[in-house]
Amino acid sequence: MFRRLARKLGFLSASRHQIPKHRSGAPEERQPLSARLDENLKTLRELFGGSIDLTIREFIVGSRPDLRAALVFLSGLVDKGTIDNQILRPLMVESVLAEKEGRLSPAQAPEQMAAGLITACATKQIDTVGAAAHSIVSGETLLLINGSGKALVVDTRGWRSRNVEEPEAEVVVHGPREGFTEDLHINLAQLRRKLRNPDLTIEVVTLGRQTRTDVAIIYLRKVANPKVVEEVRQRLQQLDIDAALASGYIEEYIEDNSFSPFATVANTERPDVVVAKLLEGRVAIAVNGTPFVLTVPMLMVESFQSPDDYYSRPYYATVVRWVRYAGFAMSVLGPPAYVALTTFHQELIPTPLLISMAVAREGTPFPVVLEALIMGLMFEVLREAGIRLPRPVGQAVSIVGALVIGESAVRAGLIAAPMVIVTAATAIASFTVPAQADAAALLRLSFTVLAGAMGAFGIGIGLMGTLIHLASLRSFGTPYLSPLAPLSTEDLKDVLVRAPWWTMLTRPRAIGWHNPWRQQALQRPAPPDRAEKTDEGSGD
């Protein structure tokens, strides 16, 4: 439906053809570095447009005035101690010593000579303006020496980054407390620490014409479906975008069906979740600069699984999972059902309840549909305000909202009390499945309109439309409703219930079927006298 609408809008597809592609940057960036230092410095200054954080330190190597050199870096991205101790000191002070000892031969190319002096661990040579600029913006330090057309890049990256903290968007009771940070390398290190297996493969592509963001594709080589990996790689490499500031930018470009309210790419802030998903055979995409890591393919049922399910005992986890299903149903169907019941199917309400509802509705001015839409809108406004405002103010907003809408509106006879209850219950229920909260809000809105027009019949049609849509969705080729449709009975162990770990022998059929066995069978714990071999490690 949405797809058709957008096709009508047309401009989306038009723009794709009209804007010419130029992936490798402006021509001046491919221009080779000059052998003259002054000229190079001038080029770089122009390239950076005189940014104040572009620092250029000119000096003389050792005691040779003929060897004029300059360090170029962006202050703030570099660790100044490294520059002082490992570049400037060797070149300016220790080079004099080396000269005396005769270790420096004048015949050497300047950059080789410098490389021999510098004590920093990571250096490389480059020879174009573009590469030079790229290293500078990456936080590396460029060493230019007069008389050489090559520059030495020294890795001096060092900036203060956020500590690893507990993720705020996904809180668990029993799980690990660490979350991803904005730094890709820290994130990758977290994954490596958890999954100490050489099969863990990390590929990096650079995305964003302007931002040049590193994006990592992460998967387990012997577990992930190579087709999916190839698909991810292709979709990412085909991207020609301006910026990749957050994973959300990329998410929208790599979805199978972009006109769906349902998320078909999962994201998480938790390394443990990513590792679990990698182990199921999924592929993760980490974007530098954002703590949210994407995982694909995503299934509908994933939205209802929480890391806590796997850290607590299976029985209660099963109950909680069903609570989540019910919560989602409630958050989608609450107001529509109320509208349908009160305006079309009064016979379905028990008599005493109907009478007390009639009492409550006496004198309220708006039709129920309108009441539901107003309350729904008010709730969304309150939620948005509560999130965006600083925390103390946000609380004030919530209190005012609750008082004004909950109390006063009812007292003034503007809104019937049952509607407030339904809205509040819906609001709470919608937080049980955060992954699909956006979809739930949209469905709720459209179902409310349908219910107002055709009652339960309208809701039924809406539900069926949703089902058709869900059945037609795919995430990287995997049916979204799997394992329910197409049905894969053995995977219901993690859908209808959360089976105990020792029964979860296989990876999900739709995702990790290349390497189905997760663990040794028959590991059910038994009392010592009956125990056979319970301590066998996991056999892949």
Partner: protein
């Protein structure tokens, strides 16, 4: 694929088609535009050939509203309104001339039929209630001793809505089992049967001071669809024993030495077995009842096996008398209120084809063998009566 332009048109058409849906007026009814009918009365109107329909409607503003303090209404929170018409449906629609809100029938609790109307036949009166999609078949049907509208105008002390009070009253009769509880579905089941006679609860209005009150006072009996008589409470329970519908109730028998003993019925089963023996049809009726000792006004220790056996015997005797009272009354009225006909038809489908037409003549002379088995279970928290030990 269609050309983009026509797809666009199709899309637009669909949206246009859906627009009136969003306007939504066909069956949408706001709660505040509805009058919730909780009781309906059916009488004959003064004009000949016309039906008088009385509706009891809830007044939401008068019902005690939660959270609004103890204010609110004195007296009933209902409005009773009547209207006449050529048919039931016409009369119902005519109520709209006095009611400013559309009537909602899906929460109707009781249908009361006036005596005179019931004597004229109830089939024509009930058609509307089965055909209409709002009315339920689980509604209780009662026959009024007098006018149905009087029953609906009566008040109730504990419930602001009298029709709901009457509905609860009917339900509560299960603790006495002296009035047949009949829903529309039960009534219709008997009306479509060629031989079974419909029955319904009987409701009487009496005045207490200035207030009208109602009580349930037995069971009304129909022949075909016309009211022909009533069963008193004893005979009513006799009927219920046969139907296996006795849930609870009190049986009072004479204890040793003349004082009274009350036994509480805690359960009963019955089986009706037609028996054909050489062309002669007899009905065998097995009733099995269980009871507890409820109270005794005899200063004698009854908690001994032989005493209890005596009580059991007395209980069986009492039950048999109740059943016989019902039988006598049914034979007098010539109506098969026990639905023996269906039982015979199921057992002897071939022979039944001959009997079916003659059943009204056959039924009164049908011999019935009654077997009653009783058992007493508990004697309560005291075993001996309050006498010096």
């Amino acid at each position: 694929m269609l050309a983009p332009k026509s797809r666009y048109l199709a899309c637009l058409l669909l949206v246009l088609l859906l627009l009136p849906l969003l306007g939504g007026c066909w069956n949408r009814r706001e709660l505040i535009d509805l009058a919730v009918v909780v009781g309906i009365g059916l009488d004959l109107a003064d004009e000949p050939g016309q039906v008088l329909v009385t509706a009891q409607i809830v007044k939401p503003a008068e019902v005690y509203a939660p959270g609004e303090g103890a204010g609110g209404a004195q007296g009933p929170a209902v409005w009773v309104v009547s209207s006449a018409g050529e048919t039931v449906f016409q009369a119902v629609r005519s109520l709209a001339s006095v009611s400013d809100r559309e009537l909602l029938f899906s929460h109707n609790q009781i249908i009361v039929i006036g005596r005179v109307a019931a004597e004229q036949g109830i089939r024509p009166l009930l058609d509307f209630f089965l055909r209409n999609y709002e009315t339920r078949r689980s509604v209780w049907v009662l026959v009024a001793e007098g006018q149905a509208c009087d029953v609906l105008e009566a008040e109730s002390e504990l419930n602001p809505i009298p029709a709901i009070a009457i509905m609860q009253l009917v339900k509560l009769q299960a603790t006495r089992s002296t009035v047949a509880q009949v829903t529309m579905q039960d009534l219709v089941a008997r009306l479509v049967s060629p031989t079974a006679a419909p029955v319904a609860s009987l409701v009487t209005v009496f005045t207490e001071g200035a207030q009208k009150r109602v009580c349930l006072s037995g069971t009304s009996v129909f022949r075909d669809d016309r009211l022909v008589g009533r069963l008193d409470e004893t005979a009513s329970r006799g009927l219920l024993w046969v139907l296996g519908e006795v849930r609870s109730g009190i049986i009072v028998i004479s204890g040793p030495g003349g004082g009274k003993v009350a036994l509480e019925i805690i359960g009963a089963k019955s089986r009706v077995i037609p028996h054909l023996d050489g062309g002669r049809l007899t009905m065998r009726l097995d009733v099995a009842a269980e009871g507890d000792l409820g109270d005794q006004m005899v200063p004698k220790d009854l908690s001994k096996p032989e005493q209890l056996a005596l009580l059991e015997k007395g209980m069986a005797e009492a039950i048999r008398r109740e059943i016989e009272a019902a039988l006598v009354r049914a034979r007098q009225l010539g109506t098969d209120i026990f639905d023996f006909g269906t039982a015979v038809g199921r057992r002897y489908p071939e022979a039944w084809k001959n009997w079916e037409k003659r059943w009204p003549e056959l039924f009164p002379s049908l011999p019935v063998e009654i077997t009653v088995k009783t058992r007493l279970r508990q004697v309560g928290l005291i075993t001996k009566p309050i006498i010096p030990q």
